[in-house]
Symmetry: C2
Subunit: 344 residues, 2 copies
DNA sequence: TTGAAAGCGTTACCAG
DNA sequence: CTGGTAACGCTTTCAA
């Protein structure tokens, strides 16, 4: 189990072994094999195999000033939701011959450091997947100004500087409200996340719009705003409070699927049935949701990742193109807990 | 929104601007600033700032033959469970000054290619987080033999070649059985994954051991083996079948937490109560499980990641050390669905 | 078609 | 303490 650190086999070793020049080997590596005698090609390939040669991306990167590496910064890597973007991004990157340097950015300082590191690593491009916490963007402007294009996912930067893909939180909630109204609900409650989050504001906006479009007056008592990260107990209590209202809601929209699960438990705890007596709709469409039969708003995170990396590729090949903004719709996934299946 | 590709600011530009030699600037970059006049140091730092200089990791990597980059290969990146390893790995890597190159390996061919790419990128070390599908390891042996140490997480390679961290699936299930027996259960069913998976075999082994230790005869009718990836319908049906038995189980162990959620729904569907009439225990401890009050076996994935990267660091600094195998215990997380809280 | 040599941006060694 | 300079492994003109 001793690991030696053998001397690296280099292109010149191969050249020597094959009795050709370095440039010729280089051409083989880069597939410029069109105008080459079959025999030399074979000889070189044999030598590479024989010596177990692996070209060095590092040396190549230095020579070409291009690393074939992309940076991916995630804020809150632990949120399974945002990880959904990683799969398609990794796939597309690899397909296009790029590798992915992954960095987590728990906070602003972290993010700045990540950007600096990625710049030193000379990535060819950078993607940032954000939670909807407000953050500064000056470091992103700077790295882009220095030649490394940046694509944003879910950061909703208002400037036109960056390629970016977002999803339409407001529209998603409006969809839910409309669906619930169509099912006959008039008293629709909503539990939202921290009010300084963009996503919270957008969702409330969508909620209001949905009600307004259906001529339903807004009742402040039906809006509970709280902290996502609060213990489940807070959500449970919010639910019980809502149920104790003189005119309790007949439907509840949760700030995410986990909250929805907690709400459902709390409802069942009081002996009420979901969805027969109260409908519940989540937001997220997490992997477990389909197994719980949870109706929910799907956030197209994977699709956003896919489109973002495409934007980035375009930008890498054409640095001076205009930045594009893509806004993805959020589909409503109808399962059991909204009651549509029975009602239908 | 035009991005220029400016000429790179190099160490020699800085040297020139500061009126010193390249080596001196290099020393500053590398913190070898002890024996240097305050004034030159200040001048150099000013120049770096002024020119907005960023050292090139690529050039440094070439010169030092060390990239400060680690490879991380995930099999099935989409499984939230295994992603739990990424957070601590990324944190520890960054703390130690390393970056992380992430690759997904959907299958063997993919994995081989990933290893090859990482070798070309000249990573200083490599971690592989596996599902428990059986896989070949020859490519891992090879890259390690060429000087890039490899640490395995959940691959349970039997050879002594690799540093590796695993968790004890068998022990986890034995723990569950013992706990259930202590609560008075004698007819304990188990739903397992595909029988060719190592984890399935280990869990069944733990199940048998748990029963044996308590003098309970094994009933084949209480063991349902199936495909994880099957539709929820299959699990639901398995559950209903179990309940329809002349002597139905009073407790069910699920192959993972999502399956447990489905089982619980199926049970409730028949009008039975969990855990009052039937106890259910999952395996995984997924993020949502605590919100469902699901009792479950925790798989210490994050801890495994943490320990694996430490092993890798040790090995990087001392290539010829003996490979270490770490086997982590799986704690039983007692929440609501096993009935312990009421019974207690 | 193939070969020689000049970079690419750093580090590290060896003189002064 | 600082400065020259030879690597590091590859790409890319430019000649032959």
């Amino acid at each position: 189990m001793v690991i030696k650190r053998p001397n690296r086999v280099t292109i010149s070793n191969v050249a020597q072994a094959a009795g050709v020049s370095i440039s010729t080997v280089s051409n083989v590596i880069n597939g410029k094999t069109a105008a080459m005698s079959e025999e030399t090609l074979a000889r070189i390939q044999a030598a590479m195999l024989e010596l177990n040669y692996h070209p060095s991306s590092v040396a190549r990167g230095l020579a070409m000033q291009r690393t074939a590496t992309l940076g991916l910064i995630l804020t809150e890597i632990e949120t399974p939701l945002f990880l959904q973007a990683v799969t398609p991004i990794e796939r597309e990157a690899r397909r296009a011959g790029y590798s992915l340097l992954l960095m987590n950015a728990r906070n602003e300082a972290d993010e700045r450091e990540a950007v600096r590191l990625l710049q030193e690593k000379q990535v060819d491009g950078l993607m940032v997947v954000s939670t909807s916490d407000p953050r500064q963007n000056d470091h992103l402007h700077k790295i882009q100004a220095e030649g490394i294009p940046v694509a944003l996912i879910n950061r909703a930067d208002l400037s036109a500087e960056f390629d970016q893909v977002n999803w339409d939180n407001a529209q998603g909630v409006t969809l839910v409200v409309e669906h619930l109204v169509r099912l006959g609900h008039r008293r629709i409650a909503i539990l939202t996340g921290p009010s300084d989050r963009r996503s919270t504001q957008e969702r409330l906006q969508g909620y209001r719009l949905g009600l307004a479009q259906n001529g339903i007056a807004l009742r402040e008592t039906l809006i509970h705003s709280g902290d996502y990260t609060a213990a489940a107990e807070a959500w449970r209590q919010s639910t019980l409070d809502l149920l104790a209202l003189p005119e309790p809601p007949t439907a509840i929209i949760a700030s995410d699927d986990i909250v929805a699960a907690v709400i459902i438990r709390a409802i069942q705890e009081t002996g009420r049935k979901v969805p027969a007596e109260i409908a519940v709709v989540g937001i997220d469409d997490q992997p477990f949701s389909q197994y719980l039969g949870l109706s929910t708003v799907q956030l197209p995170v994977a699709e956003a990742g896919r489109q973002a990396i495409q934007l980035l590729f375009q930008r890498i090949t054409s640095l001076s193109a205009n930045a594009q903004h893509i806004l993805l719709p959020c589909p409503l996934i109808i399962r059991d807990t909204c009651g549509a299946k029975k009602a239908g």
